[in-house]
Assembly symmetry: C2
Homo-oligomer: 353 residues x 2
Amino acid sequence: MMARPKQRATIERDENKRISIIDVAREAGVSPATVSRVLHNKPIVDPKVRDMVRETVARMNYRPSFAARNLPMGRTGYLALATPRGSQNIFTNPYVFPSLEGIGKVVDESSFHLIIATTPKQISNLLETHAVDGMILIQFQMDDTEVEAIEKSGIPAVVVGAYKQDTRLSVLTPDYPTSVQIAVEHLAKLGHREIGFICGPPNTFKWRSNQIAFGESIQQLGLREVGSLVTPKYTEESGYTAFRSLIEKGTKPPTAFVSTSDNIAIGVINAAQDCHLKVPGDLSVIGYGNIPASRMAQPPLTTVASNLTLMASDAAQLLIEIIETKNYQPRRVKYPVSLITRESTGPPIPGAT
Amino acid sequence: MMARPKQRATIERDENKRISIIDVAREAGVSPATVSRVLHNKPIVDPKVRDMVRETVARMNYRPSFAARNLPMGRTGYLALATPRGSQNIFTNPYVFPSLEGIGKVVDESSFHLIIATTPKQISNLLETHAVDGMILIQFQMDDTEVEAIEKSGIPAVVVGAYKQDTRLSVLTPDYPTSVQIAVEHLAKLGHREIGFICGPPNTFKWRSNQIAFGESIQQLGLREVGSLVTPKYTEESGYTAFRSLIEKGTKPPTAFVSTSDNIAIGVINAAQDCHLKVPGDLSVIGYGNIPASRMAQPPLTTVASNLTLMASDAAQLLIEIIETKNYQPRRVKYPVSLITRESTGPPIPGAT
DNA sequence: TTGTATGCGTTATCAA
DNA sequence: TTGATAACGCATACAA
């Protein structure tokens, strides 16, 4: 009863139908298994047969189906780059492109394709349909509800950036504490005694460790923390507004700010200049991220850089390794950061205004 | 690893194994077919059975496999956004994010997932493995060799931007000729009589139609074309260098430039200012694209805008329609453009320098 | 070294 | 209304 005769015999070729490995096998006069072995360069096949099959494959212009090939192996062959709020204005989110470059290099040389999910819905769809074998997570915040779903989905995932301690995911992080420390040290060396900290929104994973690092650095160098600000977003507008409100409240600003975001730092500089303060004479500002806009700022922004492209390519590599070896041991890697000195920092000039 | 006999029967649940529709069927005491019918809300199923199956699905937290579900339908369920040179510096390629936003909206509401291919290799891999059902093409140039492969692959594809006439692909294009025309008219109205054109690299699809449109506009308004430039890239550096070399050759520049790229225009402005020319007093400049940087430029750039997000979402919608209806009739749609007047254009001031 | 047979997880076509 | 069962296109134990 399983020998149900096929409607179509071999006589007529159906133009609409995809050509399959069976067609190739029949044409070459071998079994599908042999064709498969040739396609995968298995050594246990007769060179003559191999060449003949290869010729047939080429002549018929046969390409295996990606989905069908992965199905028996219990995988999809797709990875995802997941980043909520990803399609926002690029000035507020300049982190995806460098990541894409790093991931692209790895994907190029792998057998995987790359999905991009830039909305919560796309991310949860991916999870629910089992449409990817693993995920790279970028720019997630504590209140992004998808992290919960990802954690308990069991899907392999690698986080680039700060993330919680108690997790089954692997995490590749820039050395945020050191980034704050070298920023503070740079300002101290220039002669600043009163420094403010701008840490961005508190609902981010890096917030707490940065706060602690700043406090410690300040204390170690015998400086005073003055005029620190909290901003609701990592945007220029956020930084601008925060500084303006500081001034409007009549608070005397410090002589320097350390920000954990270039965008915020640029906003602060603009606000300060609009308040007729000279940067860096009256106010020095350090950012974080070394985004393209930081180089273009007036004055060009001193900032702390990490190699996001490298981190992303390492993340992709690690993710593929996890998928292929099924070694789900979470790993944590810390990446070095470096200070890029430009013109937004300098010695404080008392009474310059 | 395939026909490996199961060590354990139904008694103990194998944690490593994905739960399949068969597991659910067995648990619910029905056939897989019935479960499938419930999942697809087929009306021909007994309400009691339906509810019971739904409950079982929920209890077992069962999610159908995306790949297995699409395989019998002869499709993959994935679309691709393809853009060569995509991971370059975001300042030279600010077009992908708005596109991503538009496409994301459509993908969110569809049953498709979105692949992103930012290198030639990723694009050809996609083609060769049949890993996507269709492609959206952005920022392709005439000498991108992949267009040839895409054309003859037969895969459904929609191009956003300029593209050749003789093609089986659908094309959604901003109205480039009008963009040039309104730019020239704006300058004429301000009193400019000698205008230069900067059209970017000649190996792009929009080059020729733009050139023609500029010539016609100039002629119709009785103006003179002076000091037109060709740049090898759509970058700030390109624009900067081109203008500097004009000056260094001793050529007297026109009083205004129309550029087909914001990046180039910004580069020209910087070069002019470095040559001690006032913008817009000595030189007015119009760009194209309305990229974020155009608003931040000093002075803010007058430019021509098109709605890239809308075009991209329309492209995604059209692509899905093509795939689902199998109507491969190529379509062409032209999208309106509008002038955004900022401070980089003004009346020419003779002898201002 | 090669072919056969089975499984991957689902949908669709039957027959019951 | 439901249940077997054949595809979908491929990879791979196992037999030959």
